[in-house]
Symmetry: D3
Subunit: 116 residues, 6 copies
Amino acid sequence: MGKTLDEFNAYQQRMNKKILAANDKTMKRIYNTDTNAYLAGAMDVKTKELLGLVASMVLRCDDCVRYHLLKAHENGVSTEEVFEVFGIANLVGGSIVIPHTRRALEFWEEISASEQ
Amino acid sequence: MGKTLDEFNAYQQRMNKKILAANDKTMKRIYNTDTNAYLAGAMDVKTKELLGLVASMVLRCDDCVRYHLLKAHENGVSTEEVFEVFGIANLVGGSIVIPHTRRALEFWEEISASEQ
Amino acid sequence: MGKTLDEFNAYQQRMNKKILAANDKTMKRIYNTDTNAYLAGAMDVKTKELLGLVASMVLRCDDCVRYHLLKAHENGVSTEEVFEVFGIANLVGGSIVIPHTRRALEFWEEISASEQ
Amino acid sequence: MGKTLDEFNAYQQRMNKKILAANDKTMKRIYNTDTNAYLAGAMDVKTKELLGLVASMVLRCDDCVRYHLLKAHENGVSTEEVFEVFGIANLVGGSIVIPHTRRALEFWEEISASEQ
Amino acid sequence: MGKTLDEFNAYQQRMNKKILAANDKTMKRIYNTDTNAYLAGAMDVKTKELLGLVASMVLRCDDCVRYHLLKAHENGVSTEEVFEVFGIANLVGGSIVIPHTRRALEFWEEISASEQ
Amino acid sequence: MGKTLDEFNAYQQRMNKKILAANDKTMKRIYNTDTNAYLAGAMDVKTKELLGLVASMVLRCDDCVRYHLLKAHENGVSTEEVFEVFGIANLVGGSIVIPHTRRALEFWEEISASEQ
């Protein structure tokens, strides 16, 4: 498993822990909502992760993109589907999404390689 | 069928026609890509419209939201699913998405009423 | 009391009620967090409303700006303070905030006139 | 001359006057910088107005777009050039710029008609 | 004192000096306005820095966040207050602010450690 | 030639190649439109690159800024002109553009040094 993926996970876990330890009610509520919003409901988890991914891409949040790529992979999203999400994100959000697409693809390849 | 929905459709069609009539190559290519990106591929049309909807909501583009609500309705998206898209959009994009959610719901109700 | 202010309040209340009536858990959690985040804590309510106002201005959300102007007025924010918020918002967010500042000032004048 | 154009100009002038009358130093400095940034320098006024226009479009500020369309028209920008700005704005900023392009074209037609 | 903090300060000072040395009038006016906007007025410096911080967070500008965290620290802002700013920023700006909150907290800890 | 510039070019070329190799129609259309939008038309290439640069700056896309700085340099844009673009970008987009201006200037200096 590649280093970037490990580093991303380690940093995210360490800082999330610190943020939650501060016991700020608003931050805790947001983390709680964030966890629950992607659970299965009228839509299944896979579709919700695709929604989280495209929203993160058009808002150009690399770490959010990485998080949802990990979840998308866990939920059986294929490389073809990921590319169609990239297409819609770049169409709706414009060519400023291209640099994020490059980094997203690099991370996706790392995730895909890590499971073998 | 309500007036807002009619007005929206009429204005959009009238101005799109003018934009395309100007024969600017870049604008024509973008319109062409916009049409094709939502066709069935690795993902079905319904899923793609949900992606277009959530991307439009977090980027806070009311007219884009209206367009994708119309398409979502045509492709059998339920009110429960629309609300789950609203939830993810408001979580990822923040409380600034709330005013757009109010207008989106109003439009969704109009679309739903128009078919009866 | 002016019409715009009345209309704003009526529309907001009517649609918020509908959104909450749909019982979508994510939307309800976000509304709940939104209510609680501005309660007194380490910072007083007035300071928090100023924060909500400047955040809404730089993100260019007119309805959010109106909401926080109402709350700021209720909590004793002066016109001089409002203008200093406008200044920081226009500096940080750029001249694209100017049109929102025009509408914010118009609404602030209406709020101020409504109490007389 | 059409009503929208008149209304836009009247509202803008009335509110700008009020904003400046409040004597907030930051707001006055920003207005002052805004006036001076588009004066001829290493680039001519026309080029600078094209820059102001494309920046306003990708940031999706309708009133800013209107202002720069007026200035662009005064400085001899052609309809072909306006469409090329539209093209770059829609490419870089994505399909969320399309609704603003519709309104921009409508305003441009009104400006063009008003001079005859 | 940690390296990140030193590097941030050194890079910022070096490049700001170069930008100002170019003598571009617009850039100089913006730097000048930026300095003056946060001086005491109807609001005190601490409140203004909190406004600068929340605006920088919702606009997701890490270097701006760092700058205002430094200023907030100098003006006696507590860790509890910083977390309440984080809360409002994440509520208004959405979960895309979370990665910036992680980096902001890391920098805040470094500032806090550097004074001991 | 500096390392940053080399790395930027190498990474961009490597990832663009992979993106295009995936044969996603939407992504290919967007890349194709991106190439064609900056060709000479009613406006010359230099003006179009200035438009691409200012749009990239206000949307705060560092890699897009770098790309257009390279193209601007190839098309004879002067340092004075680049600074006037910086000025308009910082005015329209606000002080959150300042960190991107620092990095843009650093890259511009590297491009300028690389040709000697």
